[in-house]
């Protein structure tokens, strides 16, 4: 009899939907049906039971080909190279559980290297702004049950977080929001007329890269200086700014969701910083909150786990062994790669081969490169060593932090391919091996 598993978490985007229904075959090896999941989410479950999964580590040979090796050999090779490198970098963690992220912290503390996660090319600037200016945030449950004004600023959930609007923000009927979308005002601020803008009540078509000025203008209005505004700010007319500011002031509960449009245009952390300042201003007259649209289902995880381990969420420099240091611009993965500042690279649960600038990849490629990932991707194909692992949320469970910092227990729905390790086991074995080598004086 096929088995139906309820309340399964979807290991794809930052929505971390945990209401998925998965129907599994008799032998627990195949996924027959997935419900309550969007199109991208479906793919990850399908991939999980694909027959083409890699089952053994693969090592690059002198002739350029890849040869299957045992997990023991792969663990030993990685441990020895980590100990030998002066400044190894482990980067990724977009797609793994907190248990794996904690084990990674152990590995890099022993190795004395750099530890970074995908926030470094994503919401890292948001962390910097939060350090500088605080984070008046809430949970997605509060948004669903209370919010009557929703702002999407520089984010396009219609494509990047497909169920965000239906599950949390615009459409759901909550405790105080029984009329759902009918009683909610949606404001989208984006240079493009996106599919999200298409469902909005107001779309402010801002000039690309000038968000800081528009935030400044809104703050002027809230502080009572609306009359001093020029006729147009960042391509948006003064009347429109005044009208939208009025809606914000009269909200019962408002939330600003912001995305890459703010973190990856000029000014970066300052765009978020001033968004936080605006949220604070609005709280004098109404109730407002702000939230980063984190990309992957557990990219919030490493920030949480490493903050409690080392005091910093990303861009960690653990080379000094007795203290952690962090300063993006210096200790951030892309900057270090561009400056040729690391001499070993471990790509885990992401694809630096596809996401990093070509000169950065070229520098990293000069040194030993290990990819730890269930799939073949660009990083795995240029690696010296590719170690396959389980897919979190499909064949291994674990703790996951949703974009609003709410921890969720994800489940395993099928058995992993025989012999394939999960991230936590693999990384702990690498850490154990390093300790062993150190004790023997081989490092």
């Amino acid at each position: 009899m096929p088995k139906v598993i309820e309340n399964v978490g979807c290991p794809y985007c930052g929505c971390s939907c945990d209401d998925v229904r998965v129907t599994v075959s008799d032998d627990g090896k195949d996924i027959l049906e997935v419900e309550n999941v969007c199109a991208i989410g479906t793919e990850i479950f399908k991939h999980g039971c694909s027959k083409d999964r890699i089952k053994l580590p693969r090592m690059r040979q002198p002739d350029g080909s890849m040869k299957d090796i045992s997990y023991e050999e792969a663990i030993d090779w990685t441990a020895r190279h980590l100990l030998k490198a002066k400044k190894p970098l482990m980067y990724g963690f977009g797609s793994t559980n907190c248990e794996g992220q904690a084990a990674a912290a152990r590995v890099m503390e022993i190795a004395g290297g750099m530890l970074d996660n995908c926030a470094t090319i994503c919401h890292g600037p948001s962390f910097l702004a939060i350090f500088d200016n605080g984070y008046p945030t809430c949970t997605l449950g509060e948004v669903k049950n209370r919010a009557d004004v929703i702002v999407y600023w520089g984010s396009n959930p219609a494509h990047a977080h497909p169920r965000h609007m239906s599950r949390y923000s615009i459409f759901p009927r909550g405790f105080f929001t029984g009329k759902g979308q009918k009683k909610r005002t949606v404001i989208v601020i984006d240079p493009r007329f996106t599919d999200t803008a298409n469902v909005a009540d107001y779309h402010l078509q801002i000039k690309q890269g000038h968000d800081y000025e528009l935030f400044n203008a809104f703050r002027m209005v809230i502080q009572g200086h609306g009359n001093d505004l020029p006729d147009e700010v960042a391509g948006v007319k003064k009347e429109q700014i005044l009208e939208v500011a009025e809606i914000m002031k009269n909200a019962r509960f408002g939330t600003v969701f912001f995305g890459m449009g703010l973190t990856h245009s000029d000014g970066r952390n300052h765009n978020i910083d001033i968004a936080i300042s605006l949220t604070r201003d609005l709280n004098k007259v109404s109730k407002w909150t702000i939230m980063a649209m984190r990309g992957h289902y557990n990219i919030t995880g490493p920030g949480v786990v490493w903050s409690w381990t080392f005091g910093f969420p990303y861009c960690l420099d653990l080379t000094k062994q007795n203290h952690a240091h962090m300063n993006p611009g210096e200790t951030s993965s892309v900057d270090m790669a561009m400056r040729d500042e690391v001499d070993m690279f471990i790509n885990i649960g992401t694809d630096a081969g596809a996401h990093f600038p070509i000169p950065a990849v070229k520098h990293l490629k000069k040194h030993p490169w290990v990819t730890i990932d269930p799939s073949i991707n660009m990083a795995s194909e240029i690696s010296d060593l590719h170690i396959p692992v389980c897919i979190c949320g499909v064949d291994v469970g674990g703790i996951v932090y949703r974009m609003d910092n709410v921890p969720i227990q994800f489940r395993k729905v099928i058995e992993p391919p025989e012999g394939v390790m999960d991230d936590e086991t693999l990384l702990n074995k690498i850490a154990d091996r390093m300790e062993e080598l150190k004790a023997k004086g081989e490092a």
Binding site: G112, Y212, R219, V233, G267, N327
Partner: protein, 266 residues
């Protein structure tokens, strides 16, 4: 004043952290002791003597010690970090954190400096004859106190974040700057003799920006109130005075609201 000359003899493979190259660390030490001071390349702890050869003599005190750095030190950071007195002259381009957290003395770089120049500096003087990158006299991440005293002069251009969260002191950029000048500042003066792309004085509570060229994208939070004559860096000019950031919280002194100022040269 006694002088120690350090000349590069071998390049690090990655980048070397020269946090011990300060008059404070060198003072009262023999050349052999100086050469034995640690420096880090990633997790490897080297000795300064592994990369430099040392000549001359250190003074008894920091104030009495001058350090001259020769050779291509583009892959070396943290010269003059936390120094309190004395002098450093670097005869080349150099990397990040020059004069970070310094409290006194003077650093001259006869080339370019990278980012985080003079961050959280409290006193003393830095002169960069070439360009600087980002975060000149800014705060360290998460700190609300940037540069609080002293003088940084960059003869060339600079990038973004000039005097972020600054509370005192003066920064002079003789060329152009990119964006974010005096953001979040609570005091201090920044003089830009070239053009600025934009975001001068955003979220500024207090402080003075003097811009000799253009601001391509001025912030809406600033309002023109007067035309004034001011003496800046040794000469007198006429400026339009703008106050702001009107969107930011304001403090009061003797019943009067204190604003940040942008002086735009006419």
């Amino acid at each position: 004043m006694e002088t120690v000359t350090m000349t590069l003899t071998s390049q690090p493979e990655l980048f070397l952290e020269c946090y011990n190259v300060t008059p404070d660390q060198f003072a009262g030490k023999s050349l052999a002791e100086i050469a034995a001071l640690p420096a880090h390349e990633g997790k490897i702890q080297w000795k300064l003597g592994d990369f430099f050869k040392f000549d001359g003599k250190a003074g008894e005190t920091a104030a009495d010690t001058k350090i001259v750095v020769n050779g291509d030190v583009r892959r070396m950071k943290r010269f003059g970090q936390k120094m309190s007195a004395g002098e450093i002259v670097i005869n080349n381009d150099t990397d990040m954190y020059i004069g970070g957290w310094m409290t006194g003395g003077k650093i001259t770089v006869k080339g370019n400096a990278d980012s985080f120049l003079g961050i959280a500096m409290e006193g003393g003087e830095i002169l960069i004859e070439g360009d600087a990158q980002n975060h000149v006299g800014s705060a360290y991440r998460g700190d609300w106190r940037g540069m609080s005293g002293g003088l940084i002069r960059v003869k060339g251009k600079a990038g973004n974040d000039i005097g972020t969260a600054m509370t005192g002191g003066t920064i002079i950029i003789e060329g152009d700057a990119f964006i974010h000048v005096l953001t979040h500042a609570e005091g201090g003066t920044v003089i830009i003799k070239g053009d600025v792309e934009g975001r001068v004085g955003g979220q500024m509570v207090k402080g003075d920006a003097y811009i000799f060229g253009n601001i391509l994208y001025p912030l809406p939070g600033f309002k023109k109130i007067a035309t004034v004559e001011k003496e800046v860096d040794g000469a007198t000019y006429t400026f339009d005075q703008f106050i702001g950031d009107l969107g930011e919280r304001k403090t009061k002194k003797k019943g009067e609201i204190i604003y940040g100022n942008i002086y735009l040269k006419k």
